[in-house]
């Protein structure tokens, strides 16, 4: 049986030189498709079996934080692109997916996040990110490619800074005969 899969993402393809041209140029600010909602918080917490009362218990959360808050690990989810939209082409909201490079796949390498305030039910975030580093070609145990580092800032609907995240990923391909 042959193993098949669809192109997962409309990744941008190009050269290292093409990628370098995009350094330190912030992308457009994107308003999240999802507002912060309790249902998605519960699904996420059930996935990691997190019983934290800040996410589940209104009485406790109201007293401690002034309301149910979002788990920090859901930060990226609110701005994820829908799989289909009646009026918009599917587009990645995160700039790392739009950097032209040869690699046909990627894997995350490191994530550093600083949180400034909570997200509450009903909040709607916006995010702006930029490419701050791209490595020359490297070979790792997974394949051949480039390390990308991006920095993103997340705001709530009042333009208060929620979090800042620096993320590194490896955009690579597996050389012929090694997969």
């Amino acid at each position: 049986m042959s193993e098949t899969f669809n192109e997962p993402f409309p990744l941008a393809y190009g050269t290292y030189e093409d990628a370098v041209k995009l350094l330190n140029k912030p992308g457009k600010k994107v308003v999240a498709e999802f507002s912060v909602n309790w249902e998605m918080i519960k699904v996420y917490c059930s996935m990691v079996e997190d019983g934290n009362a800040s996410y589940w218990n209104e009485d406790y959360a109201n007293k401690q934080w002034g309301g149910i808050v979002a788990p920090p690990g859901l930060l990226l989810t609110w701005a994820m692109a829908l799989q289909w939209h009646p009026e918009k082409e599917r587009e990645h909201y995160f700039i790392a997916m739009k950097i032209p490079l040869p690699g046909d796949t990627l894997i995350n390498v490191a994530t550093d996040t600083e949180f400034h305030r909570h997200l509450y039910l009903g909040d709607r975030i916006s995010v702006v990110d930029e490419l701050i580093d791209v490595s020359e070609e490297k070979k790792t145990r997974l394949g051949v490619g480039h390390f990308l580092t991006t920095k993103a800032k997340f705001f709530n609907q009042s333009e208060q800074l929620i979090a800042e995240q620096t993320n590194s990923l490896f955009r690579y391909y597996v050389p012929e005969g090694e997969s």
């Binding site: 699904v43 800040s54 920090p72 690990g73 490191a110």
Partner: protein, 147 residues
């Protein structure tokens, strides 16, 4: 099944304290739930053929699931009144469907910064195959247990 809630206060924590170990199995179902819960449909998280194309042995958890597990390890230990100020993590090895996660850690530092009472904890996330994700978190906690 309900769990007991622990509340630790900043003045009760010391450098070298052990963060209580948490384990969680990762069946295929949890990896698929991860993709749905985080809206991250990158195919390495749900399509075994694609994961193998990437050089991975199986579908694997995404970063957001690992973040959630790390955060759970620290808040199960210190309580829901913790505000996570910083989380730094490195994905050294993927966590695959079929693995069992283990999170454990130690307190590295207790200090004040701008009237915030902070604790740095080192958390290691491992599977049967060894260390996968080392992380360091900075937690803000209430200072003293209410009388």
């Amino acid at each position: 099944m309900s769990r007991d809630i622990t509340f630790k206060y900043w003045n009760e924590i010391s450098e070298g304290d052990v963060v209580t170990q948490v384990t969680m199995d990762v069946p295929f179902e949890r990896v698929i739930l991860d993709a749905a819960a985080t809206q991250d449909y990158f195919p390495g998280h749900h399509n075994p053929a694609y994961a193998r194309h990437q050089g991975q042995k199986e579908i694997y958890l995404n970063t957001m699931a690992i973040e959630g597990f790390i955060d759970r390890v620290v808040t199960d230990w210190a309580g829901p009144h913790v505000f996570i100020r910083k989380r730094q993590m490195q994905m050294r090895s993927s966590i695959y469907a079929g693995d069992t996660l283990q999170g454990e850690g130690t307190v590295e530092k207790c200090y004040n910064d701008n009237d915030q009472h902070l604790v740095d904890v080192k958390i290691n996330i491992s599977t049967e195959n060894g260390l996968c994700v080392p992380a360091v978190l900075t937690l803000e906690l209430p200072t003293v247990r209410p009388s």
